[in-house]
């Protein structure tokens, strides 16, 4: 049985399952569309949230980042799990008590202002868009690898699939589909890791293999020591030390953590369970399921680095493994024979005077068009030639995208074909589940918060859902465009910006909104605007307008600037609030009430008593 056939069986089978689930649990009302009716069990919701959370970026890119940067990759590992502690302890129980289905809804009501609601909608759109872009890119990488097509066509195929089942199914369909997707992802991620761990370290638990001995060739040596030696021999910094300075490590981790706690699509997940106690249990399950993948990621990263280097370094192109040729064909690996010896050399920045290891000039590989003569397409050793000029300041000859580490992993380790097929299915599940969840939040923000609550309150349920579907189509088209022309070279980085935006806008505003009675609308609006404007400005200036790294504020990279944006938000909020009048009494009472799960005055329950919720909405809200 060929690899292609196996891929088709696994992916086709999983697709059939998702579509069956999405179809049999599709939403019939706005409530089911937005929050699945509010009756999902904590266990199932935990699994669905974990699938929602684990994006293509996590699945494909995170292990690759750890493989490239070793210790530095920990910022993603800690940032994307630690945020859940903040989220659970400080946010969701209270937001769930308040009982509004979207984040802009909470902000609009708590700060009794349409302007606040509008600003929140804009922030939500920015955050989700940035995040979906990363997902679309991920979908593209997977499909291009799978069918041997270009990333552009991969993005388009992925976008159309996401639209069909997320736009139509709503939260209810998505939640149950995500339960299935989590299972696929967990198996797809851990099984290759187990195989590779056995091969390299003789230990069938990868996490123990990582701290165990390397047994694959020669006498046993501690695995991490072996990896450090490989790295330093080739001119990289030690795997366990990393290169990033402490302030950036701190800021980026903090931005990711606070961003996690402010991401609208994660917060919304906890509205699908019954009550506050279930929210807490559900959060435990969520983090537990996420931890399964996050504890495996660093092992995959370090194992695959050893495999990659032992298989490619100093090998002549004539006998490179088959997988190298495949990745070369799709443009995700490239070899430039700088010293003309027909062998692949891979070096770190430490091996050159210029302290770089860029293979060629330019951000990514470019290839000559198909009408160029054959001798410009294929080099004398048979390699695919690039249109980029070689960077002769350093001896490094091997280029590869970080995003391929996980995908190439089973092939590098020579695993059976069905494992590779399973991995493909897992990658697609990861991308689809997150893109679907985000798309839902984005379309809800537009249909519910913008159309229904601000522009046209007379919308009926049915019209509202139709607006949501139309909005998700437009959002997806924009995301697909940026997936094809990504603003940043690799997925995890694009996604990190989304977290910066969330950390600087929603996190502080929600936190103050929940815990401070005194905060008024002027403070919240000013804080959100200053935080997100500062962060977006900083990112755009350094990412698109060519600001150099010498101009960084205290040396903080755009990835970590969300942390500074967050502090600005806090400071501005309190400053402006202390200079203006305190909020009305009923708002202050409302804040006191959301602190206690059993108090009934502010319980806008979501499970069945729609009419009661609506009247209270009128009392506590802005009187639409």
């Amino acid at each position: 049985m060929s690899q292609d056939l196996l891929n088709f069986i696994f992916i086709g089978g999983s697709f059939g399952l998702y579509i069956y689930i999405a179809f049999s649990s599709r939403a019939s009302s706005t409530k089911e569309y937005y929050t699945a009716g509010g009756g999902v069990s904590p266990f199932a919701n935990g699994m669905a949230t974990a699938a929602d959370w684990m994006s293509a970026a996590t699945f494909i890119s995170m292990a690759g980042t750890v493989a490239i940067s070793g210790y530095d990759g920990s910022r993603f590992l800690m940032g994307w799990t630690g945020g859940f502690v903040l989220l659970t302890v400080l946010m969701v129980p209270y937001l769930r008590k308040f009982g509004k289905p979207t984040v802009p809804d909470f902000i609009g009501d708590r700060f009794y202002s349409k302007v606040a609601r509008g600003v929140a909608v804009v922030c939500a759109i920015f955050i989700c868009m940035t995040y979906i872009m990363g997902q679309m890119r991920g979908v593209g990488v997977v499909f291009s690898q799978l069918f041997g097509i270009s990333i552009q066509s991969g993005v388009l195929v992925g976008a159309s699939i996401v639209f069909v089942y997320a736009g139509l199914g709503g939260m209810k369909g998505i939640t149950y589909t995500q339960v299935a997707q989590y299972c696929v992802m967990a198996f797809a991620y851990t099984i290759p890791a187990i195989f590779i761990s056995i091969a390299l370290t003789n230990n069938f638990i990868p996490q123990l293999g990582l701290i165990g001995d390397y047994n694959a060739a020669g006498p046993a040596v501690p695995f991490l020591e072996k990896l450090n030696k490989i790295n330093t021999d080739l001119g990289f910094s030690e795997f366990t030390s990393g290169r990033l300075d402490t302030i950036n490590m701190f800021c980026i981790t903090a931005a990711l953590m606070c961003g996690t706690a402010g991401l609208p699509h994660v917060i919304v997940r906890f509205f699908t369970v019954k009550n506050v106690a279930s929210v807490r249990r559900s959060a435990c399950w969520t983090l537990g399921f996420i931890a399964v993948i996050y504890l495996t990621a660093p092992t995959i990263g370090s194992f695959s680095r050893v495999n990659l280097i032992t298989q490619l370094e100093d090998r002549s192109y004539a006998d490179v493994p088959q997988w190298f040729l495949e990745f070369e064909a799709t443009g995700q690996m490239a070899w430039v024979d700088k010293n003309d010896d027909g062998k692949i050399q891979y070096f770190g920045p430490g091996k050159s005077e210029s302290n770089t290891n860029t293979v060629f000039v330019g951000a990514g590989p470019m290839y000559p068009g198909t009408d160029t003569p054959a001798d410009q397409l294929v080099g004398k050793h048979g390699e695919r030639l690039l249109a980029n000029r070689a960077d002769e300041t350093n001896p490094n000859e091997l280029w590869f995208g970080n995003d391929i580490m996980v995908m190439a992993n089973p092939q590098m380790a020579g695993l059976p074909m069905w494992v590779i097929a399973l991995l493909m299915a897992g990658c697609i599940a990861a991308a689809l589940s997150t893109a679907a969840g985000l798309l839902l939040v984005l379309s809800t923000s537009i249909s519910h918060d913008l159309m229904k609550k601000i522009i046209k309150p007379s919308l009926t349920d049915r019209e509202e859902v139709n607006y949501a579907r139309a909005a998700s189509f437009i959002a997806l088209a924009v995301a697909a465009y940026f997936g094809i022309n990504p603003p940043s070279a690799f997925i995890a980085k694009t996604v990190a910006f989304a977290f910066g935006l969330a950390a600087s806008s929603f996190f502080p505003t929600l936190l103050i909104g929940i815990f401070s009675k005194r905060m008024n609308k002027q403070g919240a609006i000013a804080g959100m605007l200053c935080g997100i404007t500062f962060t977006i400005g900083y990112i755009i200036y350094f990412q698109f307008l060519g600001g150099s790294s010498a101009e960084y504020l205290w040396g903080i990279t755009p990835e970590g600037i969300g942390f500074v944006g967050m502090i600005i938000n806090f400071v501005v909020s309190f400053l402006v609030s202390s200079l203006t009048a305190p909020p009305p009494t009923y708002i202050q009472e409302m804040v006191v009430n959301i602190h206690v799960p059993g108090s009934d005055t502010a319980t806008l329950s979501m499970g069945g008593e729609e009419s009661e919720g609506e009247t209270r909405d009128g009392v506590g809200g802005e009187g639409i």
Partner: protein, 107 residues
Amino acid sequence: MPESSPGESGDSLTPNANKASAHEHKRYFRSSLVVIAWLLPVWFLVSYGCGILFREWLDANAPKIGNAPFGFWMAQQGSIICFVILLIVYAVWMKRLDDKFSQVEKI
């Protein structure tokens, strides 16, 4: 005490009960802030403390986990395990508070 009985009549019972429950609510909220005040420092210590700020010192001086330096292991594995434990502690602790103050949420 016959003179106090008119005061305890049905009319004034509701505000008193409200006041009592408001007081209970305040105590509940204060207790939940205590929970947060215990958990967040631990959260900070295992992630930022062990994984970032004191990593180099811990790598050099603390006992290794298997073959991995302590700070590195905390950053890549240990902190995540601690996060899960923290959330379990939070859920159990808050459940006990709920029971103590009989905070049964209306569904």
